[in-house]
Symmetry: C2
Subunit: 207 residues, 2 copies
Amino acid sequence: MRMAELSSESGVPVATIKYYLREGLLPPGERTSPNQARYGEHHVRRLKLVRALLDIGGLTIAAVRDVLEAIDDDSSTYRVLGTAQHGLPAPKTPVDGEARAWALAKIEPVARERGWRLKPGDPVHEALLGALAAFAEVERRELIDHLADYAELAERMAEVDLATVSGLSSAESVVEGAVIGTVLGDALFAAMRRLAQQKVSASRFTP
Amino acid sequence: MRMAELSSESGVPVATIKYYLREGLLPPGERTSPNQARYGEHHVRRLKLVRALLDIGGLTIAAVRDVLEAIDDDSSTYRVLGTAQHGLPAPKTPVDGEARAWALAKIEPVARERGWRLKPGDPVHEALLGALAAFAEVERRELIDHLADYAELAERMAEVDLATVSGLSSAESVVEGAVIGTVLGDALFAAMRRLAQQKVSASRFTP
């Protein structure tokens, strides 16, 4: 199909498609003349994924590129969920000095209890330290007094994630499933958390 | 303090501070001459919060504005957590037609089981439908087969959230605590989920 048809099939405006092509979020079409290219169903599908990651996942363009690379690099099915580290907001500046020491002192006992491996330099590890340090930065350290409880819930969630991925038929892309399920799942879970907060809060505080 | 000092105290460049002032993320300082203003500790604190919400919370400027409004509108402590609906990526276009019907059919039985109130038009409700519909949009409906399990975890998380907020001394801002705890907590939990996935995945798949 041509660009115009790709646009109507996917619901994404032509100018936006051209932007995604320039940014490498969409592979180029098959060139049919100096200024025309042909696109396939794969492009429609990829466009819908890019929109979902941007609009619902709330990711930046750079984070979407990172997620797509993980999906396209299908080599590592052996530790599928171990690759699903993508789409996390990374701290703009590395967490250093006092803030890093404080964040580590918070997470180390929890990680030890749960058998989680902390890997300095790993994007997940740095994102975790960044999130912990942010509580200190805004002077609300007491908001993570229940860190061990949140960690337990995170591990139960990872078990459900694994059950989901294990249930995928081999024909489907397991890596794609794990990455999409994690990134879109963050948004879904954040919304359910707020809905549950409304219920729990109303049931405790209503006179 | 002057703008230059506010910048060095908060670690935020002067040009960025001016941008936040224009965008209404930071209240104006007290004017001391036609082109000078004085800033206080409140501004330093607010700047650090804005940075944390943008960098770690991964929020847009508009979402940060929304979160700050919730914090400044301190009137509704009675249903504190009920107000913590802020900072969710809203679907760019409303979820309509077939996608909406499918998403509702997914969430309604779960909400009924948990006693959650679905309120069409409410930002949390629309964000939830947007996240559900995104799985259909990318043709990966099977990734939310375990929706009821995720919902149960969301409710347990809301209970921990409430325990955190209940533990705050009245001198502190409970609303601010709930909102910050929820938005930064999303980022913290997303990172822990991935760390837990690495462990769970390694323990099942390692030969």
